[in-house]
């Protein structure tokens, strides 16, 4: 009943407001583009290898994990390094988006205080930059998959969809935390701690089926559990994620993005005064 009322409210009461706001953000797409470019290029600008580092980082990460988990601690999961990396790279995107995105409004205080633009732009740009990083990291993963005995299967066609769902979940959380951080500066550090625990509540290093089923069900409350298992299904097990998983992901993407955004818009009015 409540859900229906909420849907009604969203559909009829705030629809126009939302559409106007989306239009305005779309007007500022060039700003998103330049901020993403600034973040991606600016970070490696002074280094000799430059942008190549966005590829080299995941490359070495995988290389080290492969070495550790095949030579030093052989794991019971077959091709464990592939299992680990297909979960770890999407997680890295999520945790970086949240960990660094939470501070975007505060760290861009000068801009926020002095210039008008839809404030979401800052957060969207920050999350998008991390998303692009993940896409580049996937190039490296594909190279490793090709050389591993696993190869790919046609299931890979579903990958973009899962990525987009993950993007919206991450965006929702980041919008929420970046708005809260303006009012409560500790939030940035709390998010750091939260992420430390969160990684263990997500089946990245272990297999969810090896857990007690009760705990397994509890873990399903964590949106990232579904995300990571969808990646595992597609890239590691070569099977289609169940329809139920995909619908749940779609709903999570919509709900988290809307809630995060709603709270952001609600708090945004006083940003310039609070900063």
């Amino acid at each position: 009943m409540h859900v229906i009322l909420l849907c009604y409210y969203i559909c009829f009461e705030v629809k126009d407001k939302m559409i106007n706001r989306v239009k305005e953000i779309y007007e500022y797409r060039d700003m998103i583009y330049s901020l993403v470019k600034r973040e991606l290029r600016g970070r490696y600008q002074k280094s000799v290898l430059g942008m190549l580092w966005t590829l080299l980082n995941p490359f070495f990460q995988i290389l080290i994990y492969t070495f550790v988990f095949t030579v030093i601690f052989p794991s019971s999961i077959e091709n464990y390094y592939i299992y680990l990396m297909t979960g770890m790279i999407p997680w890295t995107f999520f945790s970086e988006a949240l960990g660094q995105g939470a501070g975007t409004i505060v760290s861009n205080a000068d801009m926020t205080k002095k210039i008008y633009f839809p404030r979401e732009v800052l957060t969207i740009a920050s999350v998008t930059a991390k998303f692009v990083n993940m896409l580049l990291a996937f190039v490296v993963i594909f190279v490793f998959l090709l050389t591993s005995p696993l190869k790919f299967s046609y299931h890979i066609l579903l990958l973009p969809l899962v990525m987009i769902f993950e993007y919206f979940i991450a965006l929702g959380f980041t919008l929420f935390f970046s708005a809260i951080t303006v009012y409560l500066r500790d939030m940035e550090y709390i998010v750091g701690v939260l992420l430390m625990a969160w990684i263990w509540a997500t089946p990245i290093m272990y297999d969810i089926s090896s857990l007690d089923p009760v705990i397994g069900h509890i873990l399903l409350l964590n949106p990232m559990t579904l995300v990571v298992s969808a990646y595992h299904n597609i890239l590691y097990y070569h099977c289609v994620p169940t329809l139920w998983t995909m619908t749940a992901l779609l709903l999570e993407g919509i709900v988290f993005a809307l809630i995060g955004w709603g709270i952001f818009v609600h708090l945004e009015g006083n940003f310039a005064e609070e900063l």
Binding site: Q45, M111, F117, A272
Partner: protein
């Protein structure tokens, strides 16, 4: 909203929360949960004003009176607690310069980033990037990373982006103090030309001179209310008077306080002398410790000196580069001025030339009724402006415009060929055109002439600004203002006989 208005502000109020003891950290929030009280400070207590399209308005007032807050409300950075603000047209604010600049990226890349934050599309920037770079005078450095720029260069770049924005309404907060004098003048002229093109400008400034020159109207805000709203000259003058008198009051108060302090100080001195003796003992012990410290510091100093040297060398290299650029620019300027001088023998030292070329003046002269070159006239004299032009595109229609400015930037008079004949002149390859003002009705004063050839869209082919300075003289000063008009005083229907005052 009334048609013809660009901005309507109605009864706008703004409060700020002033925390008595504000803690951002969680611990402070919890520990001081009860103490987290705040007061509402009223910054704006309900102000209303309207700005017409094409009008330029200056907001003046002392520090903290609420003028910057008003501007921030206009830009939508802050939201009013009461009242409404309506605006019509594309708004651009020049409040923060260089927003989003990344030090490691080149000037060119930073132009795009900075412009996108103002909401300008990359496509639009593509169109005017050359204008922006030329305006900033940083052609030689534009592809170097911004971190190698001097602070002046940095601000020049930032300002050029901001001011080359197409906007219907321009909001400016005290940022004209950028770069050297020449650049400031350039910025000021740019603003002036934007104003002439019909941009609505709202400016917050303490430089009353600038407000007077640029603005038609000034609004004086005091303690969150509008104290006075009217012609810039009048409001600025009144504001200055008020400021001066309150400054004097303050100075007197400070002097009295100073006298009181002096008395207290003398008493304190007596006591201090006693204490000093005790201190001397302690100081001797300290001396030993300091000696050891000094040795350590010396070592560090030596290391720092080496670093300093390196930095200086780098700086010198940069300075040299900049000097060369300056030289080039000066030459360019000299050439341009020389071109003004080539056109007019009577050329004023401030003459500037703008325009897109193709059709240009080859000679401009100001003549008196005898056809002699003249820059000094009496009221009522005949004056002729004779112009020769050269056209690279003969057959094009062009309009000729002349204008007269007083030396305090008041635009006094203008006439154009189009308005006279209702038609444009179809240019030949070379031609001659002149306009004769039969009776110079300007009052005594110093004036300057500007001439312009423009196309149908009013974009100038050739535009000579402040080309010739001239003077209008009169033996007696009977009237005041800008121009003279035929007049006659009457009383009881008979003409007054002019006689000496008895």
């Amino acid at each position: 909203m009334k048609p013809g208005n660009a901005i309507e502000v109605r009864n706008v109020k703004k409060y700020f929360k002033v925390y008595v003891d504000k803690g951002h950290m969680l611990r402070e929030r919890i520990v001081h949960f009860n103490r987290n009280r705040y007061e509402n400070r009223e910054v704006l207590k309900g102000i209303s004003f309207e700005v017409k399209k094409g009008e330029s308005v200056g907001l003046i007032g002392r520090n903290g009176c609420g003028k910057s807050t008003t501007l921030k409300l206009l830009t939508r950075i802050l939201r009013p607690n009461g009242g409404t603000i309506e605006m019509d047209g594309r708004v651009c604010s020049l409040i923060e310069l260089g927003a989003g600049f990344h030090p490691d990226m080149s000037g060119r890349e930073n132009i795009y980033i900075n412009a996108s934050i103002f909401g300008i599309k990359a496509k639009e920037v593509d169109e005017r990037i050359n204008d922006i770079i030329r305006f900033s005078e940083l052609e030689e450095f534009i592809d170097n990373p911004v971190r190698t720029y001097s602070s002046g260069m940095y601000m020049r770049l930032a300002f050029s982006v901001a001011i080359n924005v197409d906007a219907d309404i321009l909001l400016i907060d005290e940022i004209l103090a950028v770069g050297d004098n020449a650049f400031q003048t350039k910025c000021f002229n740019k603003l002036k030309s934007m104003k002439d093109q019909g941009t609505t400008i709202v400016i917050v400034s303490h430089a009353l001179g600038q407000v007077e020159k640029l603005c038609d109207r000034a609004i004086w805000i005091e303690d969150g209310l509008i104290r006075k709203d009217g012609p810039a000259r009048l409001v600025c003058k009144e504001y200055l008077d008020k400021m001066e008198s309150s400054r004097l009051e303050r100075a007197e108060l400070e002097y009295r306080m100073h006298l009181d302090e002096e008395k207290q100080r003398k008493a304190a001195e007596e006591e201090a002398r006693k204490r000093e003796k005790e201190e001397a003992e302690r100081r001797r012990k300290e001396n030993d410790r300091q000696k050891r410290e000094a040795e350590r510091r010396q070592k560090e100093e030596r290391r720092r000196n080496i670093e300093e040297k390196k930095r200086k060398e780098e700086e010198e290299r940069r300075k040299k580069q900049e000097e060369e650029a300056l030289q080039k620019r000066k030459e360019e300027e000299r050439r341009r001025n020389a071109s003004c001088r080539a056109v007019a023998v009577q050329c004023s030292p401030d003459a500037r030339r703008e325009g897109m070329g193709k059709i240009f003046f080859t000679e401009v002269k100001m003549l008196d009724h005898l056809g002699k070159e003249q820059t000094k006239y009496n009221i009522g004299d005949e004056m002729t402006v004779s112009m020769k032009y050269f056209s690279e595109i003969p057959g094009t229609s062009a309009n000729f415009v002349i204008g007269i400015n007083r030396n305090d930037w008041i635009y006094c008079y203008g006439t154009s060929l189009q308005h006279e004949g209702g038609n444009f002149l179809v240019t030949k390859k070379e031609g001659y055109i002149s306009v004769t003002i039969k009776k110079l009705n300007l009052l005594q004063g110093k004036y300057s002439l500007e001439v312009r050839i423009q196309n149908i869209e009013k974009i100038p082919y050739d535009y000579l600004i402040s080309l010739i300075d001239f003077e209008v003289r009169s033996d007696e000063k009977k009237e005041t203002g800008i121009l003279t008009m035929p007049y006659e005083w009457r009383t009881n229907d008979t003409q007054i006989k002019i006689g000496k005052i008895k």
